[in-house]
Amino acid sequence: MKKNFFIIIFFIFFSFILPNKSHAYSSDPKQFIAEIVAEAKEILVETNSQEFKTKKLTEMALKIVDIKGIGYYTLGSYRKELSDDQKEEYSILFEQYFLKSFTSRLTDYSDPKIDVLGVEVLNPKYTIVKSLLLATNKKPAVKIDWRVYTKNPDKPLIRDIIIEGLSLARTQKEEFASVIESNNGDITKLFITLKEFVKK
């Protein structure tokens, strides 16, 4: 009886904790970025295991980044040419590509020190959060702006990271366009390239 009581208490406790965990981030864009910067730093300093870092950063990215939105943006007007099946295939491939690229870029930093400086509200859908990656002995300070999608004000999502004024999403978009154009507009060649990138 006592054991059952503890099991019930355990489930009640986690029934409150778990939903909160999935909405753990602040709805204020500046605070949201401050929280994910702190979480990423915690992951990066916690261990030297690349596998562990990649796993944790992947879990984090799935919660805080609008990967599907970035995928469509990256494809540009080519997305209008996709069939429903191709859209589905592209979304899966892009997510794999994005997560690999995202975690690879972040694991380059062992102990990043980022100050969140301020915000610029562009419109009800977008807010830019400004931050600064502090200088080290080897590298100069780097300005990092985050394009936060705020259409759902309770659940902000990152759509772009702008490093020293250079947009990663735009760079990716122009890269994808180049791959498609150099293959005479054949979008399936992009799919093959993405598969190769994910495998390597």
Partner: protein
């Protein structure tokens, strides 16, 4: 030398006009389907070959030199970077004036005066502490961009790297506008133009080379990361180059001020 400059100017002018020609031929179809701000290629095959060449040169020469440079103590690297930036600010000053940015010109003149004297030939940067912050570099390519010139088509030069028709003209213009070039280049003395017998012509190339090594050493990880995560490195570098130039011409701190973000607007996923 003057003849060489005239030839280069004519060549780059031709490159700039080729953008208009490209826009009326087979690239129309691509324009419809590609990124709205994509800059046309002048001759992509040649550029990709030059990109490969530069990439190999970087791996064999520039990157190892940059890594060696980074092994120097941080104060030496910082002092070297400061001194190079101090000399470079003279070209920025000339372009500030041509762009009508007299406030920035005054700021740069003050920085140069303070850092060259109190900062011991620019090794230290006391000007920043006195409120004369570095406001970024300018060159003649940016100046003609501010005057309204379109970027023209994009291509890659051996060793120099990515450029556009406008920026190639800018490279020629920089030679006329850079006081460091005129002081160090004594080859023109015999023509009665400019120069200074006290300095070797090579001094200018040492100065530019050191600046390049300093820049490369600050970006070793960034370049590696870019390479590792690119599915088309040539296209990535092109995109970053064009974004950087647009940002500099607009004197903007971020993309928000320089690029039309309307292509984000039609993406709704939540």
């Amino acid at each position: 030398m003057v003849r060489k400059i005239i030839y280069i100017s004519i060549f780059t002018f031709w490159l700039q006009t080729s953008l208009a020609i490209a826009g009326t031929t087979g690239s129309e179809e691509l324009k419809d389907t590609s990124s709205q701000s994509a800059t046309e290629e002048c001759f992509e095959g040649f550029s990709r070959a030059m990109f490969e060449l530069n990439y190999d040169l970087d791996r064999i020469i520039f990157q190892p030199v940059a890594k060696g440079y980074r092994a120097l103590p941080a104060p030496i690297r910082k002092g070297t970077g400061n001194a190079i930036n101090n000399l470079r600010s003279l070209l920025t000053l000339s372009n500030n004036i041509l762009q009508g940015e007299f406030g920035r010109a005054g700021n740069n003149a003050a920085r140069f005066g303070i850092n060259s004297t109190a900062g011991i030939l620019g090794i230290f940067d006391p000007a920043s502490k006195l409120g004369f912050e570095d406001q970024g570099k300018e060159d003649f390519g940016q100046t003609i961009g501010v005057w309204g010139a379109d970027s023209g088509c994009y291509f890659v030069l051996p060793i120099i790297g990515p450029t556009t028709a406008r920026d190639a003209i800018g490279l020629v213009g920089n030679i006329f506008l850079d006081p460091v070039y005129h002081v160090t280049h004594n080859s023109e003395i015999h023509n009665g133009l400019v120069g200074n017998d006290n300095y070797s012509e090579h001094s200018y190339y040492y100065y530019r080379g050191t600046g390049a090594v300093d820049f490369r050493s600050k970006n070793i990880e960034s370049f590696d990361s870019l390479e590792r995560n690119a599915i088309d490195l040539y296209a990535s570098v092109k995109s970053l180059y064009i974004q950087e130039r647009n940002k500099k011409i607009a004197n903007a701190q971020s993309l928000v001020g320089t690029q039309d973000a309307s292509d984000w607007e039609e993406i709704d996923t939540n």
